[in-house]
């Protein structure tokens, strides 16, 4: 795996760059994931607010719901949930796609035809996953907070302006910047693990399924481990 990662960086910085495939993968991996992630984020924001509301009312601090939901979503829930869904959708997709290409010897054919399959398949997909996931997380955070706003308004009348003012009152750069940076690592982990599992898939069609499955499982675990490390580093700041 470490050799695979090393090769990624080696091939990534070396010309010729596959811009066309890279943008296509950005579209497929990033843009096409938006509806699923947006819907999930909206539901998460709404449900989180509705679940929090009774407890916050019990303690008489329902006015703090926007701040609490805002910090929770931006610091942790947004990046983690988005990354997990992204891993489920994209990790499996990459694993299955590269796995099937492997078992059908398309990758070998690319090598024979003079195309660098690693650069074309792995670098573009991994970079696309790494660069589009942060944007997905930001958009998902915004959608999720809107869901939370609607959730608050189920119980009481709160203006949109006041809702965001309350969130911003409690947000610092230290909340948003590390959360944004760590999503690059999450995206990288999802892309590289999916590619690795697919690229080294074997045992026919059964191996394709296994590659897709293990790509999701391993990348999900990797997300949590990376998140743990990110939190430790953030706490040091």
């Amino acid at each position: 795996m470490s050799r695979f990662i090393g090769r990624f960086f080696g091939e990534g910085v070396r010309p010729r760059y596959e811009f066309g495939e890279f943008f296509h993968q950005c579209f497929v991996i990033g843009y096409k994931s938006l509806p699923l992630i947006g819907l999930t984020a909206f539901i998460i924001g709404l449900v989180l607010t509705m679940q929090l509301h009774p407890t916050m009312v019990y303690y008489g601090i329902e006015a703090q719901i926007p701040a609490m939901v805002g910090i929770a979503i931006i610091r942790e829930i947004g990046p983690i949930v988005t990354s997990l869904i992204f891993a489920g959708k994209i990790g499996s997709s990459i694993g299955a796609e590269l796995g099937s290409m492997k078992v059908t010897e398309q990758i070998d054919a690319m090598e024979v035809s003079g195309t660098n399959p690693f650069k074309y398949l792995v670098v573009t997909r991994t970079l696309a996953a790494m660069l589009t996931l942060p944007f997905l997380v930001i958009i998902a955070d915004a959608i999720s907070l809107y869901g939370s706003f609607l959730g608050v308004n189920i119980y009481e009348n709160l203006s949109f302006h006041l809702f965001y003012e309350k969130i911003l009152d409690y947000l610092f750069f230290i909340d948003i910047v590390p959360a944004f940076i760590k999503t690059f690592f999450f995206g990288f982990a999802i892309g590289i693990i999916g590619c690795f599992k697919g690229y080294y898939s074997n045992k026919g069609t059964e191996g394709v399924g296994r590659s897709a499955n293990s790509a999701v499982v391993v990348s999900s675990v990797a997300i949590f481990i990376l998140d743990l490390i990110a939190v430790q580093i953030t706490d040091l700041l």
Partner: protein, 325 residues
């Protein structure tokens, strides 16, 4: 090719949306922390900041005017807090404004609250050190509360004894059972009410009279308003005092004389003592007076005879004529 263009456009929109949201969020956070507004620094010092950190809000009379720039130790008992204050507040914050630590809500973020100080002070300039007021800690509050509880327990015990004493008091029971008490009390209150009304009327009358007296040009008004009269009155009082002192001395002298006379009387010395106490002199004096009376009667007869004498008759007739005229 068309598909590729559509893909690119959608991807571009997607990326731009993400970037826009990111920049917007960072901008609003920065704006909330006063990063995009002109500001000047003010400082204050606390013994303990209780979790205050860089970026926390600064409020002036409850309105957000800036953010905490830094929190640094000066020494083991003093922490300096540097605040970025919006420049538009420069003319409002005075040097005697007092800084204190607070919390945004019950469990919210720490904030620095600035309140206007008492009296006049020049406008605060960049770098000025504002006076601070230490926050009342929860421990101190609990200690005070504990003392208050002890005091309340003592008061409650005293109150219990007092109530028991009242409830077992036969005199008080009799007093409470006395039906005439309420009638008398009511009558007393009515009288009190009437008296109060009369007093009020009287006071109004006195006030009016006094006002009238001071506004007129009579003696009373002069007495109240003429400041030179105070000097005259003072002089008069001084004179009265002098007279009083003289009178006292006179009375003292008289007392001495009376004592002397009394002494003479008691010891039968001196003329008065002899006159009043010596019986022989009294008898002799009575005899002398009898002789004087007889002589006076004889003199009266002689004078009458003289009036009828031919030598003096003319003189007396002229005297009578003058009286008649």
């Amino acid at each position: 090719m068309k598909n590729q263009n559509a893909e690119s456009v959608r991807l571009g929109i997607f990326v731009l949306c993400g970037l826009f949201l990111l920049i917007l969020t960072l901008y609003f956070i920065g704006k909330n922390r006063g990063m995009f507004t002109d500001s000047f620094e003010l400082k204050t010092r606390f013994r303990a900041v209780n979790g205050l950190m860089s970026g926390n809000n600064v409020r002036y009379s409850g309105i957000e005017i800036g953010a905490v720039e830094s929190v640094v130790f000066l020494n083991d008992t003093s922490i300096e807090v540097t605040m970025n204050i919006q420049t538009k507040m420069r003319d409002i914050i005075r040097r005697n404004a007092v800084a204190s630590l607070g919390t945004d809500g019950l469990i919210g973020n720490r904030v620095v609250n600035l309140f206007p100080g008492k009296g006049q002070a020049p406008v605060a300039k960049a770098g000025d050190l504002l006076p601070s007021k230490e926050e009342v800690s929860t421990d101190a509050m609990l200690q005070t509360l504990s003392r208050t509880n002890d005091n309340i327990a003592v008061i409650a015990e005293d109150l219990r004894l007092t109530v028991r004493h009242i409830s077992t008091s036969a005199q008080l029971t009799r007093l409470l059972d006395d039906l005439s008490l309420s009638t008398n009390l009511k009558a007393s209150l009515i009288h009190l009410h009437e008296t109060t009304e009369q007093t009020s009327t009287l006071m109004s009358e006195v006030t009016r009279t006094f006002a009238k007296a001071t506004q007129s040009e009579g003696t009373l008004a002069t007495l109240f308003t003429d400041t030179s009269m105070a000097g005259q009155i003072k002089q008069t009082l001084y004179n009265i005092q002098t007279v009083e002192e003289n009178a006292a001395r006179l009375v003292q002298n008289l007392d001495q004389v009376i004592s002397s006379v009394d002494k003479d009387l008691n010891q039968r010395e001196g003329t008065i003592g002899a006159l009043l106490k010596d019986t022989t002199i009294t008898e002799s004096l009575r005899h002398t007076l009898s002789n004087v009376e007889e002589s006076t009667n004889a003199l009266k007869l002689n004078m009458e005879a003289l009036k009828h004498n031919f030598l003096f008759r003319g003189y007396f007739k002229r005297m009578e004529k003058r009286k008649k005229q």
